[in-house]
């Protein structure tokens, strides 16, 4: 069972990389407005490195935890910057969280969202409303949890997490940055979506879509 899970996760990371690649230009443009115009490049570099590292894993002897652990290290060392430690910590937390699950179900999906959000929060010492990627991840994790508690299907959990992530990312437009490089802008960051939240929305959506598909199959 866990071997299948590991394969699921590897193809999930491929899907994330593809989705980021498709939005590379728009992320970079967003970052040009309130950052230093490299967010699209950073995310693309990071996930390409993740894919390359995952392709070298021996899938016969690989657990879901190994996949997240490998992804964390690959992302961190390809990227550095602030995105590197944030997503690396997120994936390390996910590596620990998925140890307790033995099938791809709603609880598995929820625990991934929760672990990623918590890892980012812990490493960045951020909070909701700081105009960062957390403004997408925290609502997504909460929505996933709430849906799961309600007994919703994987499909429904994925959809509600994606909706909450998208709403959270959109809401950063009305926030004043207080963390990271955009914080130097103060009120001049108003009116612009945070690029980190925008890429988080893409990742959340892709994770959801991927799990929906894998369950349907």
């Amino acid at each position: 069972m866990s071997r299948n899970q590991a394969r699921e996760l590897v193809s999930m990371f491929y899907a994330i990389s593809e989705a980021i690649e498709a939005e590379r230009g728009s992320l970079t443009r967003l970052d040009g407005v309130i950052g230093d115009a490299d967010h699209g490049i950073t995310m693309s570099t990071g996930f390409l490195a993740v894919n390359s590292a995952l392709s070298k894993l021996d899938m016969e002897n690989c657990t879901p935890s190994d996949v997240f652990f490998t992804a964390a290290n690959a992302f961190l060392n390809a990227v550095g910057a602030s995105t590197g430690p944030l997503y690396a910590t997120a994936f390390l937390c996910a590596a620990t969280a998925v140890r307790q699950h033995d099938c791809v179900d709603g609880r598995f999906l929820c625990s991934i969202f929760a672990a990623i959000a918590e890892g980012i929060r812990e490493r960045g010492k951020g909070a909701r409303g700081d105009k960062t990627m957390l403004d997408a991840w925290l609502p997504a994790a909460e929505a996933a949890h709430a849906a799961y508690e309600r007994g919703a299907s994987v499909d429904q959990i994925a959809r509600e997490a994606a909706e909450a992530g998208a709403a959270g990312a959109a809401a950063t437009r009305a926030m004043i940055a207080s963390k990271g490089r955009a914080a130097r802008l103060g009120e001049r960051s108003l009116g612009h979506i945070d690029p980190g939240a925008a890429s988080a929305r893409i990742i959340i959506e892709t994770i959801g879509v991927h799990f929906k598909k894998s369950i349907q199959q």
């Binding site: 040009g32 230093d36 490049i41 950073t42 060392n77 550095g80 602030s82 430690p85 490493r123 490089r181």
Partner: protein, 334 residues
Amino acid sequence: MATKKIINRGDDAVDEMLDGVIAAHGDVVMQLAENPRALVAREGPRKGKVGLVIGGGSGHEPTFLGFVGKGLADAAAIGNVFASPPPDPVLACTKAVDGGAGVLYMYGNYAGDVMNFDMAAEMAAMEDIEVRTVLSTDDIASAPVSEREKRRGVAGNFFIFKAGGAACDMMLPLDECERIARKANDHTYTIGVALSPCSLPQTRKWNFEMGENDMEIGMGIHGEPGMMRESLQTADEITDRIMDSIFEEMAPQKGDRVAVLVNSLGSTPLMELYIMNRRVHQRLGEAGLSAHKTWVGGYCTSLEMAGASITLMHLDDELTRMVDHPCACAMFNG
């Protein structure tokens, strides 16, 4: 339209630059076999000496890698353009320069750098290497004095690293090296002015917009907005405004000594820097201050950005000794 740069592939820019650095300065610095983004001084690291590791994103050359050499930094961890290095090269540098007396990390105060260097410090601790960190926060335009810890590190890095590097080279213990580095940071004040934007090799797009006749005082070295966008003024007017702000915070007394750095952000030529420096020295004279030493040139750049920054380090006897301590680096001797 893509900006004009003499590069090959944008993604290869940093590694190809490092190849060129080694070709020119291989007698002073070397890349570590285990991590080519870790640049270590051939002379400098030694038993009993506190190791000094600096680092940060590329695109600010000669900061950081140019300041690796005996008497200054023992190693630099090199990041992608404008992006902090990951923990791996920082840790590799740390192990390479550890002489058993601890290692000092000195770098500019940016969220990404803090996270990556902190992770490296945690890993070093697991290998029983004691690491202390001193962040530079010399850009006084980047946050009010009440939030000094939020300020970013810019060209003043040069003075702050030089003082820290001298303390390490004098074989002082880790506590002392850390104290002197902190004091150097507390005594260093920088403000920059930007005239035109810069572009990253991977995007070749201007990273912010700037009107043909505009300038921005206080802009950061990655194009972070400054205090105000306004029409370009004369060298004397710009220099006066920068000096007024620095003096207001530094509160010097008649007879005090300072070290001066007039720095190009990239494409501003020496002619303009020296015109600014002329006014800096007039203002120092009027305030009854003496310039102990003056450096003029590109010390902390922002790719091809046009603009300049002025840094003053308020010297006492100890900091004077540190600034005067000789160093022999890849891109700087003094």
